[in-house]
Amino acid sequence: MELTFKQYNTIRLIVVMILAMIIGNMIVLKNFFIPIILLVISSLLLIYLRKNVKGVIADERDYAMGGKAAFLAMQVYSWVAVAGMFLFWAFSDINPFYKPIAMTLAFSTCILMLLYSVIFRYYNKINLTDKKLIYSVFVLALFLAIFLVFSLRLFSGEDNWICQNGQWVEHGHPSFPAPTTNCD
């Protein structure tokens, strides 16, 4: 099956629209399993369709523009996130829910910067080194280590709210207020 770039773009748009509708509904229904499966299936479908597109999908000008756009988007996001972080932190006395938002913005900016630096260094070095495999494994290990550290920090339950005798009790120093749901 051969597709033109226009046909591929139309199908991609339809897939994204259907995905957005289903994921939106599934999140409301608190079902996260179906969205993940759908994301994987649609990604595989789009990869398959992309391979069947006749002609060039993207060339060096697109990649050059993409690089510039990505860099600018990263800078804009970082500035907005940092400004938002300070604002939410400053007003966290009014509403304690602002604190986790501020923390999320701060951490997401840090992760974005870190990823950018690692990927930039990777591309900068990979063409110069003869030990491509070793370097790739090293970068992958670094990514996994960072992911592991953040996962441990997020899911360790060290600083969290625990349900004890029908009440939410602080465990450690959670940076967010107690859940508003009933504690049974």
């Binding site: 002609g55 060039v56 993207a58 060339d59 060096e60 000008r61 697109d62």
Partner: protein, 64 residues
């Protein structure tokens, strides 16, 4: 940097689409090149020159 892409393409009687296909780029890139709005990589310059049966130095005019 100016270029003679449009001039040579018209002489060869080929469309932007055909030139793009020969050079392995999208048609929009040929539009940008013809309007001197994009400086191509050495490889693309070579591919476009080859597609137009000429050389880079004849196709692109470097100005100080």
């Amino acid at each position: 940097m100016r270029n003679k892409i449009k001039e040579l393409r018209t002489k060869m009687n080929i469309t932007q689409e055909e030139l793009a296909e020969k050079a392995g780029v999208r048609r929009e890139t040929i539009v940008f090149l013809e309007q001197d709005k994009y400086n191509p990589s050495l490889k693309l310059a070579h591919d476009v020159a080859k597609s137009l049966k000429t050389t880079i130095d004849k196709l692109f005019i470097f100005e100080n």
